[in-house]
């Protein structure tokens, strides 16, 4: 009984610790400006949306959101398409050298972004892709690919070999078997991988900071990091922007909880 109580207290503490900082930011975002300039009060006397209005009215924040969404969606689609093909080939066709290929993929996924940011800056400039959504999406897809290949290989591995063989024998070409049988069976894996890649792209900061220079291609994290303040930091607006930038991800994580957990733990535990 005491043990049960301890578990509940511990869980409550863990949940509070996880939720409190973000909850504080949500509170900040709806506090009237006057109440932000002193503490206490902890809780807002009235709930106001002026900070949200300011974020959207005073800045090109809506444009940044659109940029972020476009870049993340394109990069995710690209990484899923290429990653699932490669993962399928590695898991089901077992080419010689697959172990070395997978090891190389893992090593690439561990590269520190700052190590390649200078060459990518120069290469993107040379290719005319600097400050474009296309350039950013390509870079993101490349950086997310090791994760996508690795996860999809893990998920395809869990689809029985016999199903691939049956599809081929039943008259499917290689791509037919992939599209008609393997891919539909890997939808949970595809969802998990897509979520992780999307979150990675949505959150990425370093490349977004260096490869973009104007609102044309700037994404939300850069916008929040460089939030303009003339005399003092506009904490209310920053909080509002933070909530807007985070809400889609928290929502995705809540709706697809199972898939996110699958994705986070695949490979590390099963693999």
């Amino acid at each position: 009984m005491i043990r049960r109580l301890g578990t509940w207290l511990g869980l409550a503490a863990a949940c509070a610790w996880s939720l409190a900082p973000f909850a504080w930011q949500v509170l900040t975002s709806v506090k009237p400006q006057a109440e932000l300039e002193s503490l206490p009060p902890l809780l807002p006397s009235t709930i106001t949306l002026v900070h949200y209005e300011a974020v959207f009215a005073g800045h090109p924040f809506a444009h940044l959101l659109l940029n972020s969404f476009a870049v993340a969606a394109c990069a995710t689609a690209l990484a899923l398409a290429l990653g699932s093909l490669a993962g399928f080939a590695l898991a089901k066709l077992r080419p010689p050298g697959r172990a070395a290929t997978l090891a190389a993929v893992v090593v690439l996924s561990m590269l520190p972004p700052v190590a390649t940011v200078s060459p990518l800056f120069l290469l993107a400039g040379a290719a005319g892709l600097r400050d474009t959504l296309t350039g950013l999406a390509l870079v993101y897809a490349g950086f997310a690919l090791p994760l996508a290949v690795w996860l999809m290989a893990q998920f395809f591995r869990s689809v029985p070999d016999d199903l691939y063989i049956a599809a081929r024998v039943d008259g499917c070409s290689l791509l037919g078997a992939f599209g008609k049988v393997m891919l539909p069976l890997a939808v949970p894996g595809l969802t998990a991988t897509g979520l992780l890649v999307f979150v990675f792209c949505w959150n990425e900061f370093l490349f977004a900071l260096t490869l973009t220079s104007s609102t044309a291609a700037r994404t939300v994290p850069v916008g929040i990091a460089l939030f303009p303040g003339i005399h003092e930091v506009p904490w209310g607006e920053i909080a509002a922007a933070s909530v807007v930038a985070t809400a889609p991800l928290v929502l995705l994580a809540a709706v697809f909880q199972r898939r996110v957990l699958d994705g986070l733990t695949a490979g590390a535990v099963k693999g």
Binding site: P160, D162, L163, Y164, I165, A166, A167, R168, V169, D170, G171, C172, S173, L174, G176, V181, P184, L185
Partner: protein, 348 residues
């Protein structure tokens, strides 16, 4: 329908030799069983023929045509798996229709074919169900139907009965035999169960270490095993192997050693041919009873024969108990002789 041939096929996975210069010719319409211990790569031979795995060397023919470079979808073979391998995201109708859709069939013609096949296999009521809602027996019927529906040149079956419980196994085994008798499609059937092999096959190839230990009709395999490996593998319980030196001169004469040095000969006696008599009976081998296994109408007994464990049969085990002495008798014609060094069959 077509004849199938493996010609000098070699295949290895790392250290595992699946096939080493293997040649097999399967006649048109034949039911051919590949029999071997688990994990010896029998299934891989089917994958080679289906084109899923490339062979390292050699030629495969279906209907006389070299298919080595033909992709799987054009080889016109169908496969039945131990795991059933039904497409879990499709219902029974779509599972049966899958091979036909891949051939461009659709609409009313497709529906007619699927319904006809479902009717023959008694699956008519299940067409709208998903594989996960079916019993094991129903799943394997659907798998059979999916393989049969496009009348392939050859049927490849990979231990199709191994996942079924004993009663269903017999039922589906009969179904497979019936299907073969009706359609006479060349069938290549892989199993590790010799009883299954005997019941189904026109011919059996016993595989060991990537090559063929013996390839023969079931009766011949049982009556004249080519070596001690086949002798032990085919027939239950496995054949007893004894050093011929155990025999006293009169039995040696009966076993027709024909002047061979008894030390160079291994004697094979099937438990069915070794009858336990009461102590004192003349002209037989003396053994000590270790265990008794009642089998219904008769009793198997395990006995110690001069240090070798042997299994024998007794019409009535009631009067024997572990520790008793018994005498084991056999008919002269039932003895198999093998070379003690190579294990190969001697004489005839």
């Amino acid at each position: 329908m077509a004849a199938v041939a493996f010609e000098r096929i070699a295949k290895r996975f790392g250290p595992t030799v699946v096939a080493d210069d293997l040649t097999l010719r399967i006649a048109d319409g034949e039911f051919f069983v590949l029999l071997g211990p688990s994990g010896c790569g029998k299934s891989t031979l089917l994958h080679l023929l289906a084109g899923i795995e490339p062979a390292d060397r050699g030629v495969m023919r279906i209907g006389g045509v070299d298919v080595s470079a033909v992709p799987p979808q054009q080889r016109d073979v169908a496969m039945v798996f131990q795991s059933y391998a039904l497409y879990p995201h499709l219902d029974v109708f779509e599972n049966l229709a899958f091979p036909l859709r891949n051939r461009g069939l659709s609409g009313r013609a497709l529906r007619a074919e699927v319904e006809r096949m479902a009717g023959t296999l008694g699956l008519g009521a299940l067409l709208a169900k998903r594989p996960r809602d079916l019993s094991g027996g129903q799943r394997q019927r659907v798998a059979l139907g999916r393989a049969l529906i496009r009348r392939p040149a050859a049927f490849l079956m990979d231990e199709p009965l191994s996942n079924l419980d004993a009663a269903l196994r017999l039922e589906i085994r009969e179904e497979i035999k019936r299907v073969h008798q009706t359609h006479r499609i060349t069938t290549l059937y892989v199993t590790h169960d010799q009883e299954e092999a005997m019941a189904l096959a026109d011919r059996i190839a016993v595989l060991r270490g990537g090559s063929i230990a013996q390839c023969d009709a079931p009766e011949a395999l049982y009556a004249r095993p080519a070596d001690t490996f086949v002798a032990r593998f085919v027939g239950t319980p496995p054949m007893n192997l004894l050093p011929a030196a155990l025999l006293a001169p009169p039995e040696a004469a009966a076993a027709r050693l024909q002047g061979r040095d008894p030390a160079s000969v291994t004697l094979g006696l099937r438990p069915q041919d070794l009858e336990a008599r009461d102590a004192g009976a003349a002209g037989a081998l003396e053994a000590r009873v270790l265990l008794l296994e009642p089998a219904g109408g008769f009793t198997w007994l395990v006995a110690d024969l001069a240090g070798t464990r042997v299994k024998a049969r007794r019409a009535d085990g009631a009067r024997l108990a572990p520790g008793d002495t018994t005498r084991l008798a056999f008919a002269a014609g039932s003895v198999h002789l093998f070379d003690a060094a190579s294990g190969r069959r001697l004489e005839r």
